[in-house]
């Protein structure tokens, strides 16, 4: 165990370098047999050396192969022959480059492994662990010097100094948080509304076709979006709806209220058989569109919240706590499906201010 020797005399003043430690366990020991540097079995070592060398040569060849594959195998439409498949080209290049790289690395690894296990002597040494805890003398000296310095700085003796320093730095510490305010707008009421308005037509997502009620067959389901908003992902992320058409009599649910607000009604369907629900799951917002025709269940693939489409999208399994909001539907003057108003309640995941 090495100890820091204290010189005799008065305690050191801060700033004086400490004397070098005296006892070091890396000191040379006198008159001993020479250090072992070779493995015990020469013939075995020679064989091992040849094997390792062969592996390193393999690694070299594979490395050259890597460079050759890079140069020789082109990718990208502009570089491959016309008519060739870019995905095929990427596959070939990835396979060649990857295989070459893997061989280089694994050959280097295997070679290094055999090297260290068969070409070195199996020397084991012992290192001493030092007491991690400092000697009481050192601890005492530390404490004394620390207290000295604190006393010299006057910070312990002058509370006015201390307190005004804290006061001065407090706003500075808050400043970074304050600067983060403009990261984004305040939520305000934006989560309560979507872009749907009375008379705004619904069009199919992708093809952007407006639809008439007669276009639907019993058992159909289709995703629709508000007309004109197909390039607005922020709007789509709340406004997407799924329309489901039932056989007569299948769709049947009572009026539902949230407080005094009507939130689901058969009056908002078309012919009591075509209904529109929000496609945004009320759990954490995944698109919920897994509609099973036979069970009339709408299943969200993210966490398996399940909604009964014949019953106002009532939750029947899973973590969602509220049914999918219903979009009131109407038929506009040209006979196309449109919203009769915005959703009567906020769509998507719950939030604190939702009510």
């Amino acid at each position: 165990m090495s100890e820091i020797e204290e010189p005799a005399g008065p305690r050191r003043v801060i700033g004086t370098p400490s004397p070098a430690p005296v006892a070091v366990d890396t000191a040379e020991k006198p008159a001993e047999p020479p250090l072992v540097t070779d493995p015990p079995d020469k013939a075995h070592a020679s064989r091992a050396e040849r094997l390792v060398a062969a592996l390193f040569v393999l690694a070299f060849l594979a490395g050259c192969g890597f460079i050759a594959a890079y140069i020789g195998l082109e990718v990208g439409e502009g570089n491959i022959p016309p008519g060739a498949n870019a995905v095929d080209a990427a596959f070939r290049s990835n396979l060649a480059l990857g295989l070459a790289l893997a061989v280089v690395l694994l050959a280097l690894g295997t070679g290094s492994m055999i090297w260290v296990r068969h070409l070195t002597p199996n020397i084991e040494i012992e290192e001493e662990r030092h007491e991690l805890k400092s000697a009481p003398k050192d601890r005492a000296a530390f404490k004394a010097e620390f207290a000295d310095g604190a006393a010299i700085s006057q910070v312990t003796k002058r509370p006015l100094l201390r307190r005004t320093l804290l006061l001065a730095t407090a706003p500075l510490a808050l400043a970074p948080l304050v600067l983060l305010r403009d990261l984004g707008p305040l939520p305000g009421t934006s989560l309560r509304y979507t872009v749907w308005r009375k008379g705004l037509r619904a069009v199919t997502l992708g093809a952007l076709n407006p639809l008439r009620p007669g276009d639907f067959q019993p058992g159909s389901m289709i995703t629709m979006i508000p007309e004109g908003f197909q390039d607005n992902p922020d709007a789509l992320a709340k406004a997407g709806v799924i329309l489901i058409k039932f056989e007569p009599g299948q769709l049947n649910f009572p009026d539902r209220y949230n407080g005094s607000t009507l939130i689901a009604s058969m009056n908002w369907t078309i012919d009591n058989s075509l209904v529109a629900y929000s496609k945004i799951c009320t759990h954490v917002g995944c698109p919920v569109a897994l509609y099973e025709q036979t069970t009339h269940h709408i299943l969200c693939p993210c966490h398996q919240s399940t909604f009964d489409a014949t019953n106002g999208a009532w939750v029947i399994f899973g973590p969602a706590a509220r049914p999918l909001p219903q979009l009131p539907l109407m038929v506009d003057s040209n006979g196309f499906l449109a919203a009769a108003s915005d959703f009567p309640q906020p769509v998507g995941p719950s939030f604190w201010e939702r009510g």
Binding site: E32, P33, P34, L35, V36, P39, P40, D41, N85, V87, D88, A90, F91, N94, L95, G98, G109, M113, R117, P121, N122, I123, E124, I125, T204, L205, G206, A207, N209, L211, R212, G214, D215, F216, Q217, P218, G219, S220, M221, I222, T223, I244, P287, A289, L290, Y291, E292, Q293, T294, T295, H297, L299, P301, T306, F317
Partner: protein, 294 residues
């Protein structure tokens, strides 16, 4: 025969016997099981109705009723249409194997011509969507980009982003599309079999259906440039491979790297570190024996 008996004690005799047994069973099975449907070109329409009726009575009426009016076991097929018959029968789902959660794809015993005959008969009972022609399902000039949008919004939530299939409720699942032909995909969209919703021509136009089919066919045909696809299921299989393949391999290497070496450990000056195990045991065992035996 005697040469076989003479070799019965050969080291490979056991393996040969098992291999021979497997081959024999395989040959027997393939001889006895029925062949699959052959792709005959469909014959002319109306003359098939009678043939279709007799086939129907033979194979389908026990569940669907003699006039396809339905029974407690199976729904009425009046108005179901030719396309539905084509889908159900060409994928082998019908005749149903058992009344379970849902019917799965299996090899069909009917030829294409027979299926068209039965389809014609059912269509004659009450109309319904017809079987599309080859031109109607052709993907020439299809807009694969639109197909991608439509597939990802209306199909992927059940069938998976690459058509590998997915779970539904109560033991059902949306099947993989890997074995589906364009005509089967078209008729499935048109008729909404079992749990699948209907994507009629009113909501998804015939051209859009072709776009979707083009996307599916492209995806199926596409190679996997990054290596094995791991079933195109996503991160679950990737994670399994990282733990079992990646960590498993590396643990084996680590065990190799740190395994005890055959040459015993020595100090730097060449002295043996520990007394040889064998030497100690030989000495001690004799003494211990007298103590331990009673």
């Amino acid at each position: 025969m005697s040469s076989i008996i003479a070799r019965r004690r050969h080291p490979a005799a056991g393996y040969a016997a098992v291999a021979g047994g497997l081959v024999a069973v395989g040959v027997l099975y393939s001889m006895l099981s029925g062949g699959g449907a052959s792709a005959d070109a469909p014959a002319q329409a109306t003359t098939q109705v009678a043939q279709g009726k007799s086939l129907f009575v033979q194979s389908c009426s026990s569940c669907h009723g003699l006039d396809a009016q339905g029974t407690s076991q199976a729904p009425s097929l009046i108005g179901a249409g030719a396309a539905a018959v084509y889908f159900q029968m060409s994928t082998g789902r019908m005749p149903a194997k058992e009344l379970g959660a849902e019917n799965e794809r299996k090899p069909t015993d009917f030829t294409e011509q027979q299926i068209y005959a039965i389809a014609d008969y059912i269509a004659s009972l009450g109309g319904g969507p017809p079987i599309p022609s080859d031109e109607q399902v052709s993907t020439e000039g299809a807009n694969t980009a639109l197909g991608e949008e439509l597939f990802s919004t209306n199909c992927a939530q059940c069938h998976g982003f690459a058509g590998a299939g997915g779970a539904l409720t109560y033991g059902k699942n949306a099947p993989s599309l890997n074995a589906s032909t364009p005509k089967q995909i078209y008729t499935a969209m048109l008729t909404g079999p079992e749990a699948m919703p209907v994507f009629g021509d009113g909501t998804v136009t015939p051209q859009e259906k072709r776009d979707i089919i083009a996307f599916i066919e492209d995806t199926k045909a596409e190679p996997n440039p990054g290596g094995l696809s791991l079933a195109r299921t996503g991160t679950v299989t990737e994670g399994l491979l990282a733990w079992l393949g990646g960590l498993g391999f590396l643990i084996l290497i680590a065990m190799w790297l740190t395994a005890r070496r055959r040459d015993h450990a020595i100090s730097e000056r060449g002295e043996a570190e520990h007394a040889s195990a064998e030497g100690l045991v030989v000495e001690k065992t004799e003494a211990e024996h007298t103590e331990h035996s009673s």
